[in-house]
C-alpha cells in the first residue's frame, strides 16, 4: 500500500513565488532575442538575413527584433558569426499592433479567473506549456485561476495554433458560447501570425483572422511563466511592459 498523502507531504512545495518574487531558475524560459548593436551595418544586415522568418530588421548598425514573428529557431543565437544577444526574461505579453491598448477584466475577476483553451491547429508545444501551468511548479490555483471544462463558465479564451480550417467552426462556437465579459489571448507565434504555417488554404494565419484578439503572447512556445504573465495582465495584476506608449518589441 502506498501512502500517497504522506509521500505528497514529504515531497514538499516546489512552487514558484512569481509574481510576488521574480523567478530566475535556469530553464524556465528559452529567453528571447533583443535588439543588438553591431560593429558595422554589414554585420547587422547579415544578422537580419540569418532569420528565416524575417523577424530581424537591420536599421543601420542595429538589429531590431519583431518578437511576434520570432519562432525561437535560435539560428541567430548559435552557429553563425553575427549572433544576436538574448535576454533571459519572460514577461512578453503585449496587445496586437492594430489595437491601442488593453482593457483588463473587471475587478471581481482579479482573484478568480476561469480559463478556456482551444487548440486550433497547434503543434502541441504551446498547449503543453499551458498544461504545465497546472503542475506543482507553477500551480495557478494559488493565484485563483482555474481551467474550466466548458466555455459557459469561462472568462478568458486562450487560443493556440494558426487556426486550421477544420477548427475554425469549433473555435467560433467556443467563443460564442462564452458569456460577457470575455477576453481572447493568442498564445504563441502561430496564433499571432500563423508561424511557419502561414496563411494557406488549410490554415487561417493566426487567431486575429477569425476572432477579435485582445492580447498576444509571443514565443514558440512561450514558456509557462510567459503565459502566466499574460493571465496576470488579463486580471490587471501585472502590466504590459511598454516603452514610449507602445508595447515592448
Amino acid at each position: 500500500m502506498s501512502f500517497w498523502f504522506w509521500n505528497g507531504v514529504r515531497r514538499g512545495i516546489p512552487s514558484t513565488r512569481y509574481p510576488a518574487v521574480p523567478e530566475t531558475a535556469s530553464g524556465v524560459t528559452p529567453g528571447r532575442p533583443v535588439a543588438t548593436m553591431f560593429a558595422s551595418a554589414e554585420e547587422a544586415a547579415r544578422a537580419a538575413a540569418n532569420c528565416p522568418v524575417g523577424a530581424i530588421t537591420a536599421r543601420d548598425r542595429e538589429a531590431v527584433i519583431d518578437l511576434e514573428t520570432c519562432i525561437h529557431c535560435q539560428r541567430c543565437r548559435f552557429g553563425n558569426p553575427s549572433t544576436v544577444h538574448w535576454a533571459n526574461d519572460f514577461e512578453w505579453t503585449r496587445w496586437p499592433a492594430a489595437k491601442k491598448g488593453f482593457e483588463p477584466l473587471p475587478a471581481s475577476f482579479t482573484r478568480s479567473l476561469h480559463i478556456m483553451v482551444v487548440d486550433a491547429g497547434d503543434c502541441g508545444a504551446c498547449l503543453h506549456e499551458i498544461k504545465q501551468l497546472n503542475n506543482p511548479f507553477y500551480n495557478i490555483h494559488r493565484l485563483g485561476m482555474f481551467f474550466t471544462a466548458t466555455p459557459r463558465t469561462a472568462d478568458v479564451l486562450l487560443v493556440v495554433g494558426p487556426v486550421s480550417e477544420n477548427m475554425r467552426e469549433p473555435l467560433l462556437k467556443t467563443y460564442d458560447a462564452m458569456p460577457q465579459p470575455k477576453r481572447v489571448v493568442a498564445v504563441g507565434a502561430c496564433a499571432i501570425s500563423g508561424g511557419v504555417f502561414g496563411r494557406t488554404f488549410a490554415s487561417a494565419g493566426g487567431v486575429g483572422m477569425v476572432l477579435p484578439v485582445d492580447l498576444e503572447i509571443p514565443g514558440n512556445p512561450p514558456p509557462p511563466l510567459a503565459i502566466l504573465h499574460g493571465l496576470l495582465v488579463v486580471t490587471s495584476r501585472k502590466e504590459v511592459l511598454t516603452e514610449g506608449g507602445t508595447s515592448l518589441i
Binding site: V28, I71, H72, D119, G124, P151, R168
Partner: protein, 536 residues
C-alpha cells in the same frame, strides 16, 4: 486474414527475389536498390496479392503509402520493412487519367487509413475500399474532389469557392433501438485535450462502437513544404509535432543526408542520440503524468509532472529550448555542447530516472489505481499485428518492433539497450513499457555521453539537385519515416511524413470497444497518442 506466423524463415534479399519471381513471374520486376529492394508491380491486379505476401507470409511490417504526381503519371510506393532485408518498396506507376487503383485493404488492414488519406488528398479511388471519404477534409467543412495535394492546386489560393455539406450527419453503426452516440470533442477536457471528435455508440454503459474523427489540426504541412528550400522545410519538420520535434527533425535531416550521401561526424551522431533519448524520457514522463491524471490519482500525477518539468528545464538549460527546437541541421547539429553542460544534463537525467523508479514502485502497490488499468483497453497480440501498430503501444501487446534495433541509425548499434516488451496489451502493460523505456533511455544517454569524443558537430551539406532521400527514427510514440524528393534547384518537390500516431490511431477503437465509457479517458491516456502528429 490469418495471423499465422510468417511461413518463411527470415529471408534475405536473394531468397525474397527468387520467391517473388517464382510466384508472380511477369507481373513484377525486382530491382536491388539501396537501402533495400524495389519491386515494380506491372500488373495492377497483383498488388493486393503481393502486399499479402510481404506482410503475412514474409512477416514484414507496413511502413506506409507514398503517393506522388510527377512526370505526367502517378507513382504509388508501398513501403514494407522486412527483417534481414530492410526497406522493400513496392512501386506502382499509372497514367494520370487512371484514377482507380485496386485497394489492398482486404489483405492488409493496416493500409486502411493510408488509402483514405490518398483518396482525400489526391482524389484517387481505391477500388474495393469500403469506407472512403470524409477523412482529412471533413465533409461539413470541405466539398468533395478538392484534391489539395495535386500539383494544380495552389496552397495559397484562399478564395476558392466553398460549398460544404450543410446536412452532414455522422454515420452510426449500432442499430439497437435504444442506442445513442455520445459525442466527445473536438473541444473537450476544457480544451486541454487535442482536438479529436469521438462518437461513442452505446446503449448506456458499454461502448459498443467508437469512431474517432481526427484531422482537426490538418495544416497541410506536406503541401506547403513543396517549393521551399531545405532549411525552411526543416522548420516545418520540427514544428508540426512538438513533443517529438527532435525525432522528426532528425528523420528529416537523415533523409537529406541520405539524399546527399553525406557522412555525419561521429560526435554529432552521438549527441543526436543524447538529445533523442532526452526527448523520449521527457515524453514518457508526460505520458505517465497523463495516465495518472486520467485515473485521478493526484499525488502521483503531481510527481510525474514535477519530473517532466525538471526535464523541460534541463533541456532548456542544455540546449536553450525546452522542446529541443532548432538543434538538428542536415549534416549534424547546429551547435556543440561542452563537457560541463553534458555532466549537468546527466545529473538531471539521473534525478529524473530515480524519481521515476520510485514512482513506479509506488504505483505498483496502489490497487485502486491498478484496478482501473488492468484488463482495461486490451489489444491482443493478433490485433496489434493485424493493424500493424508501432511503438510502446505495440510493444505492450507483444509486437516487438523498434527501429533503433531493426534499422539502426545514428550510433544506436554501438550501445546496449533493451526494447521492453509485454504480452497483455492492457493499460497496465503500456504503463510498464513506458517506465521500462524511460529507464533504457537514461541508460542510453549515459552510454552516449560517455562515448563522446572531441570532433566536429556538423559538416556542411549542400542540397543536391534531383535526388531522393529517406530517413527514419524511432520517435517516442513509434516509428517515424520522412521521405524527401528534391527538384532541379535543390528545393523540396515532394515531402512525405509517415508518423507513428497515424498508425496507432487506427487501432485505438479496438481497445475502446466493449468497455464502459468511464474507462474511455483512461484508455485514451494509456495510448499517449498525439492528434497533431497524426494530422500534420
Amino acid at each position: 486474414m490469418t495471423s499465422a506466423p510468417p511461413s518463411h524463415s527470415p529471408l534475405d534479399v536473394e531468397g525474397l527475389t527468387i520467391l517473388l519471381e517464382e510466384r508472380f513471374r511477369a507481373g513484377l520486376s525486382v530491382l536491388k536498390e539501396a537501402p533495400g529492394l524495389v519491386i515494380r508491380v506491372l500488373d495492377l491486379s497483383l498488388l493486393p496479392v503481393v502486399s499479402r505476401f510481404l506482410f503475412w507470409e514474409a512477416g514484414g511490417s507496413f511502413g506506409g503509402l507514398i503517393v506522388e504526381e510527377r512526370l505526367r503519371e502517378w507513382t504509388l510506393q508501398y513501403l514494407f520493412l522486412l527483417q534481414n532485408i530492410g526497406w522493400v518498396d513496392v512501386v506502382v506507376r499509372a497514367p494520370l487519367y487512371q484514377k482507380t487503383i485496386p485497394s489492398i485493404v482486404a489483405e492488409l488492414h493496416a493500409a486502411d487509413w493510408y488509402e483514405r488519406e490518398a483518396e482525400d488528398l489526391f482524389d484517387i479511388d481505391f477500388e474495393g475500399h469500403p469506407r472512403l471519404g470524409d477523412f482529412i477534409l471533413h465533409d461539413e467543412t470541405w466539398q468533395e474532389h478538392i484534391a489539395p495535394m495535386r500539383k494544380a492546386f495552389d496552397a495559397n489560393a484562399l478564395n476558392f469557392e466553398r460549398k460544404p455539406n450543410e446536412k452532414w450527419r455522422p454515420k452510426l453503426v449500432v442499430e439497437d433501438p435504444g442506442s445513442f452516440a455520445m459525442p466527445v470533442g473536438p473541444v473537450y477536457e476544457g480544451g486541454l485535450g487535442e482536438p479529436i471528435h469521438f462518437l461513442l455508440e452505446t446503449v448506456g454503459e458499454d461502448v459498443i462502437r467508437e469512431v474517432p474523427r481526427l484531422f482537426y489540426n490538418y495544416r497541410a504541412v506536406e503541401k506547403i513544404a513543396e517549393g521551399k528550400a531545405v532549411c525552411d522545410v526543416l522548420l516545418l519538420a520540427e514544428r508540426f509535432s512538438a513533443k517529438s520535434a527532435f525525432a522528426h527533425s532528425l528523420a528529416f535531416c537523415q533523409a537529406i543526408e541520405n539524399a546527399a550521401g553525406a557522412e555525419v561526424p561521429w560526435r554529432a551522431r552521438r549527441l543526436r542520440v543524447v538529445l533523442a533519448e532526452l526527448e523520449r524520457l521527457r515524453h514518457h514522463a508526460g505520458a505517465i503524468q497523463g495516465i495518472c491524471q486520467s485515473t485521478a490519482l493526484s499525488v502521483s500525477e503531481a510527481h510525474a509532472a514535477i519530473i517532466e518539468e525538471q526535464l523541460l528545464r534541463a533541456s532548456a538549460a542544455f540546449t536553450g529550448h525546452r522542446y529541443l527546437f532548432g538543434l538538428n541541421t542536415p549534416g549534424g547539429l547546429r551547435r556543440d555542447f561542452e563537457e560541463t553542460a553534458c555532466r549537468d544534463l546527466l545529473r538531471a537525467i539521473d534525478s529524473a530516472d530515480s524519481q521515476l523508479r520510485i514512482l513506479e514502485e509506488r504505483l505498483r502497490y496502489s490497487s485502486s489505481f491498478l484496478d482501473r488499468l488492468e484488463d482495461v483497453g486490451a489489444i491482443s497480440p493478433e490485433n496489434a499485428r493485424d493493424l500493424d501498430l508501432v511503438g510502446p503501444v505495440a510493444r505492450a501487446s507483444g509486437v516487438s518492433r523498434d527501429l533503433r534495433k531493426a534499422c539502426p541509425y545514428a550510433t544506436y548499434s554501438e550501445y546496449r539497450f533493451d526494447a521492453p516488451c509485454e504480452q497483455e496489451g492492457d493499460g497496465y502493460a503500456r504503463l510498464r513499457v513506458l517506465f521500462a523505456e524511460a529507464r533504457e533511455s537514461a541508460r542510453l544517454v549515459h552510454q552516449a555521453v560517455d562515448s563522446l569524443e572531441p570532433g566536429d558537430s556538423s559538416i556542411p551539406v549542400e542540397a543536391t539537385a534531383s535526388t531522393v532521400g529517406f530517413g527514419w527514427t524511432e520517435a517516442p510514440i513509434g516509428a517515424a519515416m520522412h521521405g524527401v524528393r528534391l527538384d532541379s534547384e535543390g528545393r523540396v518537390e515532394r515531402y512525405r511524413i509517415l508518423t507513428p500516431s497515424f498508425r496507432n490511431w487506427l487501432g485505438f477503437h479496438v481497445a475502446v470497444e466493449d468497455f464502459a465509457f468511464q474507462d474511455f479517458p483512461i484508455i485514451l491516456a494509456t495510448f499517449g497518442l498525439s492528434a497533431t502528429e497524426c494530422d500534420r
